[in-house]
Symmetry: C2
Subunit: 438 residues, 2 copies
């Protein structure tokens, strides 16, 4: 099975765990079989591999997510990188061209597209296989998954099938309705459109060439920032007459808000949390290294991360976005392809951060114009390069780097540094990258 | 007016703002006239000085609080340091001996004793003056303040006066009652015993010599750890026949729990807090440098500090103690006589802290057996002394200190350091102090 997982944009609706650089699919809150915690991304990837060990997975995403994906899934997974965000049609077209031109997948093979973030069980992946099988028959150009609605949601578009069969023709589509309209649709047998579908590769490539002027994957990639934003539904699905829908009645949950996410949490409390016996329906996600005590609360979500602290009634939590948008705060934590960093302290003209490099990884060779930096090695062993000169470092070593000097560090074992930045106008934009001659 | 302020023990009932080293009286949450925030201690000290600019204030407290008091009130305030905690009678006896033997106050002068932590207005201090005046008349050995009860509290002892006059004889005392008994006492004219009273110095000194074997202040101080724990009420007030009570009907609030403390907060939210319009009766005290967002909450207190985060229904918050007792966490923030420190990061065999020294102050000259330390100077100017050798330091300087070496730093201007501690078994107990030869 060829599967394209759409890894969507960063969102603030799960703040403080998600923010501009950290999307909800990377938050580790689901208990894996071995007792450790995994993210939505890791969960869905593991589920796919369990359902079909030969599955060829390509993740379509923006470049801001590449580090986090590599960090969580390793270097093997294929990533189709969108140079910028252009909605689902350009993203799917680019990923399809990637499959064809980079991975050499033939025109005639089927491809399944699924968002990365629904919370589903194994039957979903069995359904994806059936979806691919149906598309391969060629009865229709496009085969959609139609999800049996569990309530009259205003969040989804609806697919109106022409019969009640497991697989049938699509009669029409309905945009996100209000509750009353949704009730009416459902009473007529409508299904949720979850953005899950299968097609033969040639179909989408032809559509792409029809709607956009490009030669191949590389050309499309280079032109990407000039493309028009348009959704796959609008550009393709709603225009297609030869289109089928396959009914899916298993679990399919969109964990886009704290309210829905907490319903799927296996443990109501994670890490260093005390919830006393007077609490009722309380979920706590603690990503800070200090304890949280909850007393006498009902229907409340508490979430704490280096970015901030949310305390909200569960239902209210879906209205978080404008409040978080109003917060003007620098990024306090980020996962990188080489490890992660966390801001420990911010002063005028000084910032202290903790840098963790994974074994065998190194950061970019770079310099800063406006700040000096000091590295205090607190764990592990590595090789520091400063202006081309390599030095071995270990616990207790201190390295001073003046503004302008080029520097990097490679971790031999897991390497942890306390980095003290000193200078006027400290900014993430003050960074020049260089090739490291080796 | 001679006034002894009893600065009581550390408490966990206002965790995470109070803990083993930081008592509630030091938390800055009251708005002063200039718009800045002041602590209970600073508030009461300011109020005393406004009521009587010549007031001679002595704070009776344990040595663990001396740094915080000096930090908040400066070097002028007199402190009678209890070598260990021995309840109120030994504390008041020691402070009385301090007044007599160290400050040279005569036997015949009156002294007023008050806890440091009731939340009161200016009329309270006028009442203290009247209390002193009444004691100076010599009609009774001891004149208590009797606080008009506002509800049948189970938290206070009650004074039963023999009449309804403003000043009258005490008929008897009642221990902390249950609500029913409290109602009965109040209907008979009982008053709260807030631990506020006045006496002539000689009276308490005589009582002290009667009950304890000592010669003078120094001798009592040296024997302090062998004294029996006993309250002033039990040892003195309840045994005294010549005792009066003076009625006080002004504001007098014990802010010992989050529930009562938040009632006295001028601003429901402090620092970097968003409380949306669906919240009702919500107080937030944020002592972290990250934002807190509250949504859809009712009757809730949220308090965050480097020690932890409390989210509690206001009424439930009075039952916090056992939960906080169960938390085994190192001290993350402390005020010192020379400034303050805050733990930024804890790893196995490594701790990173931020040290702030006030101008003109220095830490103790000391060494550690089990850890190396690195100072990264991030703000200000100072003089570092290592094994007797002085060096000027400024922003960007790095100083490495190996285990065993003696070191200190004196701040010329406000000095901030990032201190990286590296070693096995990092502990606050691994510290040897030395005299600095200058």
């Amino acid at each position: 099975m060829n599967i394209i997982l759409l890894s969507g944009g960063s969102g603030k609706r799960l703040w403080p765990l998600s923010n501009d650089v950290r999307s909800k699919q990377f938050i580790k809150i689901f208990k894996a079989e071995d007792g450790s915690y995994e993210s939505m991304l890791q969960r869905v990837y593991r589920q796919i591999k369990q359902a079909d060990s030969d599955a060829s997975v390509t993740i379509a995403t923006s470049k801001t997510q590449v580090s986090a994906i590599r960090n969580q899934l390793g270097d093997e997974v294929e990533i189709s990188v969108e140079p910028c965000r252009k909605d689902t049609f350009p993203a799917i077209a680019l990923a399809s061209a990637y499959l064809h031109d980079v991975k050499g997948i033939s025109d005639d093979e089927t491809v399944v597209v699924s968002p990365v973030d629904p919370y589903v069980e194994d039957d979903y992946f069995e359904a994806l296989k059936l979806l691919a099988k149906q598309a391969s028959k060629g009865e229709a150009k496009l085969v959609l998954m139609g999800i049996e609605p569990t309530y009259p949601s205003e969040k989804y578009g609806y697919i109106i099938p022409d019969s009640s069969g497991d697989i049938c023709e699509v009669k029409t589509f309905k945009e996100k309705p209000d509750v009353e309209a949704a009730k009416k649709y459902i009473s007529c047998g409508a299904l949720w459109n979850g953005g899950v579908f299968a097609y033969k590769l040639k179909y989408v490539l032809d559509k792409a060439h029809e709607l956009m002027d490009f030669t191949d994957y590389e050309d499309l990639f280079n032109k990407y920032d000039m493309l028009t934003k348009i959704s796959f539904d609008y550009a393709v699905a709603e225009q297609e007459n030869e289109i089928q829908v396959m009914r899916f009645s298993g679990q399919w949950r969109d964990l886009g808000t704290w309210n829905t996410l907490t319903e799927a949490m296996d443990d109501p409390e994670l890490d260093n949390v005390i919830v006393n016996e007077t609490c009722e329906n309380v979920n706590v996600v603690n990503d800070l290294n200090i304890p949280i005590v909850c007393m006498g609360l009902k229907d409340v979500i508490v979430s704490a991360s280096p970015e901030g602290i949310l305390v909200s009634d569960k239902e209210q939590s879906s209205y978080i976005k404008p409040y978080v948008d109003a917060i003007d705060q620098q990024i306090m934590f980020a996962e990188k392809s080489w490890g992660s960093f966390r801001v420990l302290d911010v002063e005028e003209n000084c910032m202290t951060i903790k840098v963790t490099l994974n074994p065998g990884h190194s950061m970019n060779y770079h310099s800063h114009r406006m700040r000096d930096e000091i590295w205090n090695v607190i764990n592990g062993e590595g090789i520091v390069t400063i202006d081309g000169v390599e030095t071995s470092v270990t616990v207790g070593d201190v390295i001073k780097m003046c503004a302008g000097c080029r520097h990097t560090v490679a971790a031999i074992t897991e390497l942890k540094l306390i980095e003290v930045q000193i200078g006027e106008g400290i900014s993430v934009y003050d960074k020049q990258k260089f090739e490291l001659q080796s």
